[in-house]
Amino acid sequence: MATNIPTELRYSKTDEWVRVEGAEVVVGISDFAQHALGDIVYLELPSVGAVVQAGASFGVIESVKASSDLNAPVGGEVIAVNNELEASQEAINQDPYGAGWLIRLRPSGDEDELMDAEAYAAHCAERNH
């Protein structure tokens, strides 16, 4: 199955994506990640106002298969959380780059190692077979 990797985003090794929107960034998990996890059934996200560190866990995502940490690709203050997901975690499976976004941050400048779409595609291919 082809993995959708939008070229305008950057990606972490642990499969989170980052989209820069002016002075803010939006974070979610990639199509590769949602496919590997399977149906998402539980999500634990930080509160607005929380400060997250690049590379550190900011929440937990659980599917029928496994529970995993969500790692912050960039550090900063949480300024919004996608509360819609509480009632409809399937948005993460159906639209990981759109309705399935997780948190919005005001970045502190602190960044984990991030990849562009091409490097991330190679990172996914490496793990696929």
Binding site: V41, V64, K65, A66, S68, Q89, H129
Partner: protein, 493 residues
């Protein structure tokens, strides 16, 4: 196919009674109002005794167990439980002993506990053993509490991190978190072992210890184990051995000699006490002389007069459980060790490893190996069948049910995509292994030619494919007549 499916509440009617109690011959006492439940959870079903017996007997007949089918659940060692042990555990001197009857009246039970402590210590190369913990995860919790007590006793309060490999059982990081310590993940290398470079980079004076399963959850022996132990020790940390996979190395390698400081034994895996279904489990722990003073008590010792007595080590972290562990399981484990003997236990591991490799060698052309190596007691394959469109490991597992096998562990370890983790154990005959292998090969063919057979499976079990997503998102955790009626209507339509 048994489709029996009522809920016990559906038999309930007011006034039905299972037991006739004698007339009250003492003054009736009122329960204090403060002790009464306020949550409405007091509508217990009312039934006759035959209704209860039939209901639970019918349900029990739908169980899969090692007494009914091959049960190759990787990392869980579900082996056959010899019935001789059941007889030993039912001897009145064991089964009817009261935990408060005192040492003098419990000499037989104490001797059994003492000998089991000695035997487990000998098998694993440790100086002291406590039989207290109720199961493996509690054994882990015990170990990390002991590590913390040991460091604090030395006046070193700065050790707040526990190293856990990314292939570990989920109970390892959970244990570290439960004790208030921070989990630091160590990566695996391309061979499926601990990545030594990554380990080195994570060592510091903050390390309380490392938790490691050997063989690990990819079914591979950590062949750099001696170096791993030296590295962790050189940073002042201690090595915790998760004994879940001890079945691979009995009589061959001793964790205490490899460099571990502490381990738990899953008596319900390695030592044939019942596993699953409430067991109960038993997670005895063993350790080096340096950690022995911190073990949870009571332990059993033998005095100069030959008599046995309970004692609690001087710096014990305290009890982990009321009374003396899950004693009935100790009797079964003792019976197992004594009936197998040293040679027999070594053969257990030799045959367990041989059986796993037989399955690996005969299936790897259709189900790719996670790592191309000879495995230990379990083999991790991938449910990625060439030419099969849209078939996933879950479908393969469900199809196995149609053929009368309990599926192996799936989607674990987490580092292997579409993992199928098969642990046959030593208790299976070659014929059973061949039946399983032939079935797996048939399923691989079906996956290519008739993938619907896999997607629709199971079709021959009492229930069809369960809606795991809905069960996780909208669980119904207690009986509710309205919700049940709605479910029944949905199922009928």
């Amino acid at each position: 196919m048994d489709t029996y499916d009522p809920h016990i509440y559906e038999f309930s009617a007011p006034g039905k009674q299972g037991v006739n109690l004698p007339r009250l011959d003492v003054p009736e006492a009122e329960l204090p109002a403060a002790l009464l439940r306020q949550d409405g959870m007091n509508d217990f079903p009312e039934l006759t005794e035959p209704e209860v017996i039939r209901h639970f007997t019918r349900i029990s007949q739908r169980n899969a167990s090692p007494d009914t089918c091959f049960y190759p659940l990787g990392s869980c060692t579900v082996k056959y439980n010899p019935k001789l042990h059941e007889e030993a555990a039912r001897y009145a001197g064991f089964a009817a002993a009261h935990p408060l009857q005192g040492d003098a009246l419990s000499q037989g039970a104490l001797r059994l506990m003492y000998e089991l402590q000695q035997d487990l210590g000998e098998i694993s190369g440790f100086d002291a053993v406590s039989l207290q913990p109720a199961a493996g995860a509690q054994g882990e919790f015990t170990g990390i509490l002991v590590f913390r007590a040991y460091h604090c006793h030395r006046g070193d309060h700065e050790r707040t991190e526990v190293l856990v490999p990314d292939s570990a059982h989920g109970t390892n990081p959970a244990t570290a978190a439960m004790t208030g310590l921070k989990v630091v993940e160590v990566k695996s290398d391309a061979r499926g072992n601990v990545d030594l470079e990554d380990l080195r980079s994570k060592l510091s004076p903050r390390i309380a210890g490392m938790m490691l399963t050997n063989p690990n959850t990819v079914g591979l022996f950590e062949d750099q184990i001696v170096e791993i132990c030296e590295l962790v020790h050189s940073a002042g940390g201690l090595m915790y051995g998760d004994g879940a996979n001890f079945n691979a190395i009995l009589g061959i390698a001793k964790p205490g000699e490899l460099g571990f400081d502490f381990m738990h034994y899953n008596l319900h895996k390695t030592f044939t006490t019942p596993h699953g279904g409430g067991g109960p489990g038993s997670g005895a722990v063993g350790c080096t002389a340096a950690l022995a003073p911190f073990l949870p008590g009571p332990l059993v010792r033998q005095g100069a007069d030959g008599r046995y007595a309970f004692f609690t080590p001087e710096k014990s972290i305290g009890r982990m459980k009321a009374f003396h562990g899950n004693f009935g399981m100790l009797v079964r484990a003792w019976a197992y060790i004594r009936s197998m003997g040293a040679t027999g236990l070594r053969e257990v591991s030799e045959v367990a490893v041989l059986n796993a490799n037989y399955i690996r060698a005969r299936l790897k052309d259709l189900y790719p190996q996670a790592v191309d190596r000879i495995c230990m007691h379990e083999t991790v394959l991938k449910g990625q069948i060439a030419g099969a469109q849209g078939v996933r490991t879950l479908d393969i597992a469900k199809r196995l049910i149609d053929y009368g096998f309990h599926p192996p562990t799936v989607y674990f370890p987490l580092i292997v995509p579409e993992a199928l983790m098969i642990e046959p154990t030593e208790t299976e005959s070659k014929r059973t292994l061949d039946d399983f292998i032939d079935t797996m090969r048939t399923i691989a063919r079906e996956a290519v030619e008739h993938p619907d057979l896999l997607h629709q499976a199971p079709t021959k079990a009492p229930v069809r494919r369960l809606d795991e997503v809905r069960a996780a998102r909208q669980p119904i955790l207690r009986y509710n007549a309205e919700a049940f009626a709605k479910l029944r209507a949905e199922r009928a339509s």
